[in-house]
Amino acid sequence: MTRGRATFFVAAGVLAIPAVCLFPFLWMGLSSLKSARELYAVPPTWLPHAPTLENYRTVLFESNVPRYFLNSVIISLGSTGLALGLAIFASYGFARFEFAGKRASQAFVLAAQLLPTSAIIVPLFITLRVLGLVNTYLGLILVYMILTLPLSVWMLTSYFRAIPVELEEAAIIDGASRAAVLFRVTLPLSLPGLVAVVVYAFVTTWNEFIFALVFAQDSRVKTLPIGIAEFTGEFNTDWGAVMAASLVMTLPIVLLFFGMQRLFVGGLTAGAIKG
């Protein structure tokens, strides 16, 4: 029995995966530490000869990036919190009760997840303008429900279903109310699912581009992706500053993701495949 091909396959993967996945990231980091002179040198240098934090100084003290960072934090936390709150109740309703229109509602939630967002951006903009929500935190937080709420409901529903209903019945017999059961019994048992929803919703809103481009046109509410696009949009792109700003934007996501990776990946695949 020859396992030679399998060995070759594994060896190729061990070499290719880190190179393909890590190199662009590494190059971004190295470029962010180079002076303008070195960035535009031909041929390019690999390691920065004279590492400098100049690009970070530009980004942190001479641009709108700190403000955009704050806006991104507020909007991402707001929409994550709102999605989590709405999804907890909706998922509990779907997982534990039978009612008329349940199947249709669930189909609607699934369809919402598959909706091409560009197709509704025009009427959404008009609606928000009428409600006075363009260029507000609340407007973006609400709009991000389109992206985060459906999958959150989907993931949490499958989590709640997996919890034995007997545990809840025991608490009800002991005199607990439905709300008490949900918050004292079901939620503590669904912690991995809740973490998955939080990470998913936060990362999605933190990275989102097109809604932010349309609904946040004022620097008081613009988010980081728009800030970075502004850097590159002009004819003289300051590539050093762009790389530094990109790194600043990526760091929270990488920390969050790898901090919770085990829980997150488990929760996501459970929702996507078993759901």
Binding site: A90, V122, V265
Partner: protein, 281 residues
């Protein structure tokens, strides 16, 4: 006690943000700026628009090209990450990096790496003797779309790998053992044990990739804004331009409605093709 009060708030929010705009799109698309019913005039204007066919073709090109490579490379990566080897846990984490990185960051870092004059990719290729002179990855009209597809593949193949990995972990060990008893090679194992088992995963993953691909705008818009010479003008960018640069809201709504139907047709065709295939032995 019923579940309705539990699900109502979430459904109300989604209805306000999705159902209402979908209906409103339809209304906008058959009226003019004064709110007067104009029939299909907006649709006709869009259909006769010089750029509509270009945008449709570019979208199909981008989505189709992306999916093929995402699924093939993602499946290979998923199978690889399911093998037994030292350092597997580390590589599983590393492989997720492209997917975790924000789309805008993927766009800026690749735009810098593919820069015609100062990019590291052209430096490696020219100094290695692969090409004679620098390639205009993001400026040459014939190369820019494949380059953007490559970036999009890089961004999303980890997602396919993750799903394939999850699917492979449910494959019973006995299947491999009996295949090996029958003298199956590694290639046979992939073809006859792994692929049939992860087929349902691949079907739903492809569907998701299709929808994401149709929606993709971040990478393309950031790098090319739809240029050069409209060669990367995909439908979402076209809609954005019509609405927020030309301020032709009603035509943009007609375009949105057509995009919506176009997406549904593509998804339907895909599901139909798959269902037909499923019927055969």
């Amino acid at each position: 006690m019923t579940g309705v009060p539990f699900v109502l708030p979430a459904l109300a929010v989604l209805a306000l943000l999705i159902l209402f705009p979908v209906i409103y799109t339809g209304v906008l698309s058959v009226t003019n700026e004064q709110g007067v019913f104009v029939g299909l005039a907006n649709y006709r204007a869009v259909a006769e628009g010089r750029l509509t066919a270009t945008a449709v073709w570019n979208t199909v090109y981008f989505v189709g090209g992306s999916i093929v490579f995402q699924v093939v490379l993602g499946t290979l990566a998923g199978i690889f990450l399911n093998q037994q080897f030292r350092g597997r846990a580390v590589l599983r984490s590393l492989a997720l990096i492209p997917w975790v990185v924000p789309g805008i960051v993927a766009a800026t870092m690749w735009a810098w790496m593919l820069h015609t004059e100062f990019g590291i990719v052209n430096h490696l290729l020219t100094s290695g003797g692969v090409v004679d002179r620098s390639v205009g990855w993001l400026t040459d009209p014939d190369i820019v779309m494949p380059a953007l597809i490559a970036i999009n593949v890089w961004k999303l193949f980890p997602f396919v790998a993750l799903m394939v990995l999850a699917g492979l972990q449910t494959v019973p060990h006995e299947l491999y053992e009996s295949a090996r008893v029958d003298g199956a090679s590694f290639g046979d194992e992939i073809r006859h044990v792994m692929l049939p088992q992860i087929r349902p995963v691949l079907v739903s993953v492809t569907l998701l990739l299709m929808i994401w691909g149709l929606n993709a705008i971040t990478i393309i818009y950031t790098i090319t804004r739809g240029g050069p010479a409209n060669r990367t003008l995909v439908l979402p960018i076209y809609i954005y331009r019509q609405a927020f640069e030309a301020f032709a809201f009603h035509q943009a709504a007609a375009l949105s409605a057509m995009f919506f139907v176009f997406s549904l047709v593509l998804v339907w065709l895909y599901l139909h093709a798959f269902a037909a295939q499923e019927g055969r032995p």
